[in-house]
Symmetry: C2
Subunit: 133 residues, 2 copies
DNA sequence: AATAGTGGTAACCAAAAAGTAACTAATGGC
DNA sequence: GCCATTAGTTACTTTTTGGTTACCACTATT
């Protein structure tokens, strides 16, 4: 029987991808931005369980990895818009597949649709229905 | 302008998938097992930078999530074989896409191929060429 | 009689990640 | 003059994760 081993497992592209998006928040951020650019405060409101510090940090990392574009407007109060780069857009179908896989593999879990709800009258960040688990 | 918000972001299937495989070691483990079943010691040797405790833990979690089958043989010294379940096999093409994406998005990084090398004469776990970064 | 081999576990410690609360700058509205 | 607003930052604490070492059971080999 042939023995097998993998050469330098930590330098492969799958590991790299996981280092970039394989955590709790980043897929959500990418998903939210797939519908267009969004401000910091809106992202913060749409992911109520994230803290500002961590969100800032995740956004910075995504920007450094070339997945996010950050546009800061010289206004008072400040406005900063985040949007996906081409790289990130190329990742969207794969994220979709990951999502589809879970729906198939764990049919009993009946996941929420992660749906985007339009036309909220009040600013979303004052009006979020989600509650901490 | 329509405001948007996402309802209960933490319960969606993408987040679930990331909870299951979105970390440092699990994609590597799944990748290694994609060629067939493997013993604990072999996995430990093929991922030299992982500690036994963490590997044990990751394998348990993957088993609990239905991605791995654990077969323990009543021999001395003990033998335990890990293999992919159907669920996990369904995930392999998606892992492949994640890997392909990184190769395209970061062409300058020239990742290692994560190649499996056959016909090593000595047991791989005494003969691993990989060195800690 | 001692040692090697396997697949772990337990106790303990270090490092990384995440959460909390308070604070900032600059302006508009009351 | 005071408060609200936005996108953070800073200092500090807590939680989570990962790593280290020693140990076990059981047998075959030396």
């Amino acid at each position: 029987m042939a023995r097998k081993y993998i050469d330098n497992p930590n330098a492969c592209s799958l590991v790299h991808t996981m280092n970039i998006i394989g955590n709790k928040w980043k897929p959500i951020i990418l998903y939210l931005l797939s519908n267009g650019s969004m401000r910091f405060g809106m992202l913060n409101a749409l992911i109520p369980t994230i803290s500002k510090k961590v969100l800032t940090n995740q956004l910075k990392e995504l920007e450094n990895d070339g997945l996010l574009l950050r546009q800061s407007f010289a206004e008072i109060p400040p406005r900063v818009e985040y949007s996906l780069t081409e790289k990130a857009v190329g990742l969207l179908p794969v994220l979709r597949m990951l999502s589809d896989w879970a729906n198939e593999a764990y049919p009993k879990m009946e996941f929420e649709q992660c749906r985007i709800i339009e036309n909220v009258k009040k600013p979303a960040y004052n009006n979020v229905s989600y509650e901490k688990p």
